[in-house]
């Protein structure tokens, strides 16, 4: 079937008063996909998830789960399970009882419950803590219980709201890998909310980048990082330099932009920009080079002054002045020496900045 999706949002709007927490969002999440909702705090990620789970009713628009329109279907009749941001474990039940709860509600037999609870606890590697109460466990362990409690029901879709948000960095990294592996093994669609772009990039098949209730761009991590379609996405994912100006020439895939202080740059033309339009050149720090002698006649090549350098191990982060414009350039430290002078230029020195038009984007204002 062409339109066979695990979850679909069709033009979903959620108003609180006259503030749109979710603003005309449409997205189609495929079966067995690891789909992330990524955006800064307050952009409407949780609200989207709660609408899918059925805890909030959209002001307008439709939610489909497994190709069925949900309408007023209450949460307990939807074939999705949620891993809550705060875990929301039942404090008066042991780990085992927490995990068994969903199966009991479905009327699964005792023997079957015991078997599946055992399996689920095995999966999150907590069988030894089955008799504990939630408050007797660490944050990471509680997180796994929440995961097991949801997974044991074998839902069509698992909704996860910043499930690793409360964990420290090291544990978070470990759990990211575990979660990703687990998702691949159990073959369940994950809709994963996070505000951590690195987390979204490493784990997701596709990402929806959200801002102010809108889904600005939906695509693979590669697409989102390499081909952002708007300034917000380019800025939010990774680091980038913005140069503002006006389009002065258009040549098929490419557009040429003259910036405020007269410099001229060429990059990939996005959003069908036309000559005369105000636009922004976006170029990532690692996609530019600093050289002593530029190749004659190459595009996007100008003499600059080095302002400061910072050695950060894997690369050296250089800040340069292009006229009155300040830019970040990251040079990879691909050779190993102990002489500080070997790590490129020193502050105050002249150098040539250069990058290929393919490595820059000309975005709408």
């Amino acid at each position: 079937m062409a339109n066979d999706f695990a979850v679909e949002l069709r033009d979903v709007v959620k108003l609180y008063g006259n503030m749109a927490a979710v603003d005309h969002v449409s997205m189609s999440i495929r079966h067995n996909e690891f789909f992330s909702l990524l955006g800064p705090s307050g952009c409407g990620k949780t609200t989207c998830l709660r609408i899918i789970a059925g805890f909030e009713r959209p002001t307008s628009g439709q939610v489909l789960i497994d190709n069925k329109i949900m309408g007023l279907t209450p949460p307990f009749q939807r074939n999705v399970n949620t891993v809550f941001q705060s875990y929301a474990l039942f404090p008066h039940m042991t780990v085992e009882q927490n995990v068994a709860f969903g199966l009991e509600m479905k009327g699964v037999s005792r023997a079957e419950i015991n078997r599946r609870v055992g399996e689920a606890l095995e999966l999150v590697r907590l069988p030894h803590l089955a008799k504990r109460y939630p408050k007797q466990m660490s944050g990471g362990q509680q997180q796994r219980v929440a995961l097991a409690r949801a997974l044991v029901n074998r839902p069509k879709v698992l909704l996860l709201d910043e499930p690793l948000g409360a964990l420290d960095l090291k544990l978070r990294k470990e759990m990211q890998i575990e979660l990703k592996t687990l998702q691949r093994d159990v073959g369940i669609t994950f809709i994963y909310v996070t505000h951590d772009q690195e987390e979204a990039l490493t784990m997701s098949d596709r990402i929806a980048v959200m801002s102010h209730g809108k889904a600005l761009q939906i695509g693979s991590p590669l697409e989102i990082y390499e081909r952002p379609t708007c300034k917000f996405v380019a800025d939010f994912i990774g680091e980038t330099n913005f140069l503002e100006g006006r389009v002065t020439a258009v040549n098929g895939e490419f557009a040429t932009l003259t910036i405020r202080n007269g410099y001229v740059f060429t990059g990939r033309r996005v959003n069908g920009l036309q000559v005369g339009e105000v636009a922004t050149l976006s170029v990532r720090p690692e996609k530019m080079q600093l050289v002593e002698h530029p190749v004659e006649g190459s595009a996007n090549t100008y003499e600059v002054t080095v302002f400061s350098i910072a050695y950060v191990g894997s690369d050296t982060r250089v800040i340069i002045n292009l006229g009155d414009q300040r830019l970040d350039v990251w040079e990879q430290n691909s050779t190993s020496t102990l002489n500080p002078d070997d790590y490129f230029f020193k502050p105050g020195e002249k150098a040539w900045l250069t990058f290929k038009p393919e490595n820059a984007l000309v975005l709408a204002q």
Binding site: A53, F55, F76, V80, T82, F90, P91, F101, G102, M105
Partner: protein, 287 residues
């Protein structure tokens, strides 16, 4: 130096304990001791407590007449507790889910009846339930009944009076524990397939047990010993243990017997509360 500090500390502790200890002794321990002493006395020809000491008062308490009165009082109080719980729970739930500023308003509304004298309120209730009172008039006019229902002077009237009087004592502790309730847990239950009823039974009730416990004790204890409500709503035809005690100290002038029943009542209530707390502690130890 250290020695003086330590002595000071000791004096301080003593100083801190003094007011509380004083009140406890004057208003609790002494009267209790007095009642206990009187309960062991006999009466002289003027009905005053007198020597010799006797256990007759306690023996009299175990007369079937009084045993039945005890059972009736406990039964009616348990029923009162149950009914207030059933009424108060939805009210407290509703209050706890209101926006914050409305909660304060609702709390005030629940407490406002306290500002009216209890006697006045009970008389008002009595008026409502009279043979020619508004309730009967309404039912008669609606043609639902053909002659006034005798409501006053029945156990039902006492029950209504008790429920009405004790309701706020159930609502407020329930509200307090529901207000602190983490509602994401309820969402988790629904997410896992629990409908409203099962969410209530499996999640909300166990987690609000402390509030239910507090409310139940606050309602049960005064109900068992209630006097004014029984007197006014029961119209002298319904007897409960509190009324018996009042009679012994009043008309009958039998202080030793009144003291004996009071003490037995205290023991019953204390044991009930302890059992209740024990159950509650089991529930709560997990939290």
């Amino acid at each position: 130096m250290l020695q003086t500090i330590r002595e000071r500390r000791g004096l301080q502790v003593l100083g801190l304990m003094l007011p509380g200890g004083f009140w406890l002794i004057v208003f609790f321990a002494l009267p209790l001791a007095l009642i206990f002493a009187i309960s062991l006395m006999s009466r002289d020809e003027l009905s005053r407590p007198a020597l010799p000491l006797t256990l007759a008062n306690y023996q009299q308490t175990f007369d079937p007449l009084y045993i039945n009165l005890f059972l009736f009082s406990i039964g009616l109080s348990l029923l009162t507790t149950l009914i207030t719980l059933i009424i108060a729970f939805p009210v407290a739930l509703f209050m706890a889910r209101l926006p914050r500023r409305w909660r304060t308003v609702m709390t005030l509304l629940v407490m406002i009846p306290f500002w009216t004298n209890f006697l006045v309120r009970t008389y008002a209730l009595q008026f409502l339930m009279r043979a020619n009172g508004p309730i009967n008039t309404l039912l008669l006019n609606l043609g639902l009944i053909h002659e006034p229902i005798q409501m006053l002077s029945t156990p039902f009237a006492v029950l209504v009076g008790l429920v009405y009087g004790e309701l706020p004592f159930m609502i407020l502790p329930l509200y307090t524990s529901l207000e602190k309730f983490d509602w994401s847990i309820v969402e988790a239950a629904q997410d896992l397939g629990a409908d409203a009823l099962r969410t209530l039974v499996r999640v909300v009730l166990p987690l609000t047990a402390p509030g239910i416990l507090a409310g139940s004790i606050l309602v049960f204890v005064p109900s068992v010993g209630s006097y004014i409500t029984v007197e006014l709503m029961g119209g002298g035809k319904i007897n409960m243990i509190g009324r018996v005690i009042a009679q012994q100290f009043g008309q009958s002038g039998n202080w030793p017997f009144g003291s004996a029943i009071s003490l037995i009542l205290m023991v019953v209530v204390t044991v009930a509360a302890l059992v209740y707390f024990r159950i509650g502690r089991g529930e709560r130890s997990a939290l």
